[in-house]
Symmetry: C2
Subunit: 153 residues, 2 copies
DNA sequence: TACAAAGTATAGCCAAGGCTATATTTTGAC
DNA sequence: GTCAAAATATAGCCTTGGCTATACTTTGTA
């Protein structure tokens, strides 16, 4: 029908901001998403081990709001990633690597929640939002957060 | 071999914190992930329309760092979601709904970047991290951010 | 005007992350 | 010691979001 668009297809093309930069940025975000779930699992497993003495697929599933089948499948991924060990019907355990990740995640989570709270976000929202936000906070930003909290006393 | 675990399988079970709450929290995070990508696309399309006068699959793909095929497929999803319209070989346009979403996303993005910057995060990191963070900031938190920036002048 | 290059679309593949339904194992109670 | 219930595992299916390879339009230029 009409072809108002497409007339001069490269008009303004060179005016676009550096695509490379943004592409890399988005790319990183995508990668972060794939690790976010594993981080959640590792965090939760460490939590369950500490509070209940063991981490069972059923508890993990319930806490994450997914089916046990899904939990089991993801635990298999954790094993493949070298973050956890598990033998059939015998519970899940974190490897050293998994424990290290859990520690890092826990610290980061705390920091994000504290910053949100310091900014005036209600505790409940801070906890809920941190669950999503924490996976996308870089080391640099994390340092700035810590600094901010320290300065603020 | 050993069965140290599993001995008393419900020990401490009732000591676990309210699973319902956390399950819902994680559940929300999952849902947010599925909309995050569409938000990115809508945001970018609006940006391209404004800066280049049109939004073409190839440009979208390049800016997002994905293949054109992936971009085309996701654009189809945008159409299904009622956020965009597109006819073969004729570019992508936002619907009213899509434009409204783009506006909301843009405002939110700005707010997140500004808050990060105010906290001392370097501009580049702030931009990069905001790309991931913004999708997980609730309305309540957004309000707190705005308030914080206002109070801080 | 014809044609090559650029852009666009489609098909078919893969892994992740979700589900339900169907085994199988373990456990605790009888 | 049996056996039912609970937990666990497996199989098969779906959607999303990525890819490459291949085919088809559009466009600008020779």
């Amino acid at each position: 029908m009409n072809d108002t668009i497409r007339r001069k297809r490269d008009a303004g093309a060179e005016k676009l901001p550096a695509e490379g930069t943004q592409a890399r940025r988005f790319g990183k975000t995508r990668t972060a998403q794939s690790t976010a779930l594993l981080e959640d699992y590792v965090e939760l497993i460490a939590d369950l081990m500490a509070s209940a003495g063991e981490a069972r697929p059923t508890d993990i599933a319930r806490r994450l709001g997914v089916s046990h089948a899904t939990a089991v499948k993801t635990i298999a991924r954790l094993k493949r990633a070298g973050l956890a060990t598990a033998r059939p019907y015998r519970g899940v355990f974190l490897t050293e690597k998994g424990q290290a990740l859990a520690d890092r995640v826990r610290v980061r989570h705390r920091l994000v929640v504290d910053v949100l709270t310091a900014l005036g976000v209600p505790a409940e929202s801070a906890e809920a939002d941190a669950e999503g936000i924490e996976h996308y906070v870089s080391e640099v930003t994390l340092k700035a957060f810590a600094q901010f909290l320290r300065a603020r006393g």
